[in-house]
Structures are given as structure tokens and as C-alpha cells.
Amino acid sequence: EDQVTQSPEALRLQEGESSSLNCSYTVSGLRGLFWYRQDPGKGPEFLFTLYSAGEEKEKERLKATLTKKESFLHITAPKPEDSATYLCVPRGSQGNLIFGKGTKLSVKP
């Protein structure tokens, strides 16, 4: 069964304190992996697509990486506006998206 596990479930950082969010997945026939950001009461906002192991993508303070079993979202010198729930979403062989519970990030000033 395809599944994804994100850790930690919640992460509290001070402004400027860099860290990483972890995503472990078991997906047969992976067809890409997406990262989304979701603010309270809103829909997920697309951040990155990773296609194959070894690939990296960057956007402002965020960098996403992919291995054959994991993906990481590195946050460098976060700001309070980076506070959100981050979703790691692998895509299965049938084109279906596999959603986990996400990591809720809080950045305190």
C-alpha cells in the first residue's frame, strides 16, 4: 500500500533558526513528488515538483530534495510568515496523490 509519513508532526522554531522537515514514502512506481504549503482555512499552495532521486529545487528560504525513499524540505533562516502546514505529496503509478498529515511549522519572532 502506498503511504507517506511526515515528521515531526509539529515544529516550533525561533526566527532565523534553520531546520529540516522529513518525508518518508513507500510508493510503487513513483511519478513525481510535490511539496505544498497550507495556511489555516485555505487550500494547499503548490511549492515544488521533484521528479527523480537526486533532484533539488529552491524557492527563497526553502529547498526541497529527493532520495529514493525520502524527501526533505530545508528551511534556512525562517521568518514568521513561513509558519504553515507543509505537505509532502508523492504521486503513485496511477496518477493518484498520496496525502499524509503534514508538518505544522510555527516560527516565533
Partner: protein
């Protein structure tokens, strides 16, 4: 930018009512999706559509139906609303080919009393 618009942010209905949730996208995407999101659970797929007048069941279709008469519009219908359908409903769309991401609307928070 992709724009997915859901007609209502908040909706309150009564048990047994027929409820329509509307979604419109402006990017000529072939694929459209309906999900529900509940606290402590990930997003769960209700129905999706790869083309006009086509629909496919997702993981939790019971109690729901959909309609796609035009490419840009995808409607979710609760045939007879029940309290366990109280949830956040999210619509998404994507291009039909390749490893394209889904783009989401801001959701409709539906309460069934």
C-alpha cells in the same frame, strides 16, 4: 497564475438537503478533483474528472455525485446531506499530461446541522 475558485467559503445546510458545491478554474485544465479534509486526516479524494462529462470515483465517493458539463466547471453534489459530511471541501485542477501538480481552491467549509 492558476486560479481555482470555489463559490462559497462557508456554507450551513440541514440534514437531508441536497447541496451543491461549485468550482471553476481559469487555466483550461483537463483534470479536476474534489477532496475533503478533516482534522487529523490527510486529504481524501471523493471524485475526479479527466474530461467534460467524464467522472471517476475516488476513495470515498459514497453519498456524493459530481457533474462536469463544461471544461472549466466541476460541481460536487451531496444528494442528501448528513452530519458526517461536515468538512472542508477542496477543489483542484491540473493539466492532463506529464507530472503536473494540482492547484487548489481555498475550500468550502460546510456544516450540516
Amino acid at each position: 497564475d492558476v486560479k481555482v475558485t470555489q463559490s462559497s467559503r462557508y456554507l450551513v445546510k440541514r440534514t437531508g438537503e441536497k447541496v451543491f458545491l461549485e468550482c471553476v478554474q481559469d487555466m483550461d485544465h483537463e483534470n479536476m478533483f474534489w477532496y475533503r479534509q478533516d482534522p487529523g486526516l490527510g486529504l481524501r479524494l471523493i471524485y475526479f474528472s479527466y474530461d467534460v462529462k467524464m467522472k471517476e470515483k475516488g476513495d470515498i465517493p459514497e453519498g456524493y455525485s459530481v457533474s462536469r458539463e463544461k471544461k472549466e466547471r466541476f460541481s460536487l453534489i451531496l444528494e442528501s446531506a448528513s452530519t458526517n459530511q461536515t468538512s472542508m471541501y477542496l477543489c483542484a485542477s491540473s493539466l492532463g499530461t506529464g507530472y503536473q501538480p494540482q492547484h487548489f481552491g481555498d475550500g468550502t467549509r460546510l456544516s450540516i446541522l
